[in-house]
Symmetry: C2
Subunit: 129 residues, 2 copies
DNA sequence: CAGCATCCTGCGTGATACTG
DNA sequence: CAGTATCACGCAGGATGCTG
């Protein structure tokens, strides 16, 4: 039954596409860190550890996955210097750069409306409109 | 040392908080649909089906979860009319409303840079900066 | 240094059936 | 109508250990 074809993202929800594209805990952070210029694999890794003291090290497998995904999405570009010891840099593509403002918007909103809530714990319902 | 406090979401990543808050396939879409005014449970459900032909019906459990999560996050408000047959409306809170522009930014970016890519399938790497 | 190979686990998501 | 109760499954994400 039509399982083969899903035609995902019909047209009514670029949001869904967006969500899939940046799904993953680190993608947005990676892009944000990259906005200041190219970074090497290790630098990205280190960067992701800042502000995450409880966290151990990011599993290489995971980081690698994220980077590949972003590369595949055309948001970042991988530059391998092909030397030893290895040196690989990641940088935002044009498309990726165009996305930075969006992340910026998200961060600004977060800064104003979440302050430091975010962990998923009781947001002290300010709800009541 | 510098902080015995775990201080989740240290400060360097409101993005992470944001991601958690809107994690879930429908949250953003729900909010977007809600921007035009209050909707009932069933209406939201129906709305989510638009543009998702391969998709079956959204599992009540899932939708319920999303709605609770959003309510808990203070982005939407649940209004139970307490009558039979049941009538419940969901609407954006002030905070939720403030978030709409962000979604808008996402949609705009998506419309311009993803068109209809999103499925996760070969984005035909436009990469090369 | 920049990864890849393997195993394991939690939870987000879906499907179905039932209720106030 | 607006949900809750169960069962099941795929996959993101973490932990090691190894390599060119």
């Amino acid at each position: 039954m039509l399982s083969s074809r899903k035609s995902t993202t019909p047209c009514g929800c670029p949001v869904a596409a967006f969500q899939k594209m940046i799904s993953g805990k680190y993608k947005l952070r990676i892009m944000w860190d990259l906005k200041d210029g190219p970074l090497r694999y290790g630098e990205i890794r280190t960067g992701l550890l800042r502000g995450a003291e409880g966290t151990q090290e990011i599993a290489p497998r995971v980081l690698s996955r994220e980077l590949k995904s972003l590369t595949h999405s055309g948001l970042i570009d991988r530059r391998d210097y092909g030397i030893v010891p290895p040196k690989v840099e990641y940088r935002l593509t044009r498309r990726g750069r165009s996305f930075v403002p969006v992340i910026s918007a998200i961060r600004k909103w977060g800064a104003r409306h979440l302050s430091e809530v975010g962990d998923g714990e009781t947001v002290d319902r300010i709800a009541a409109e």
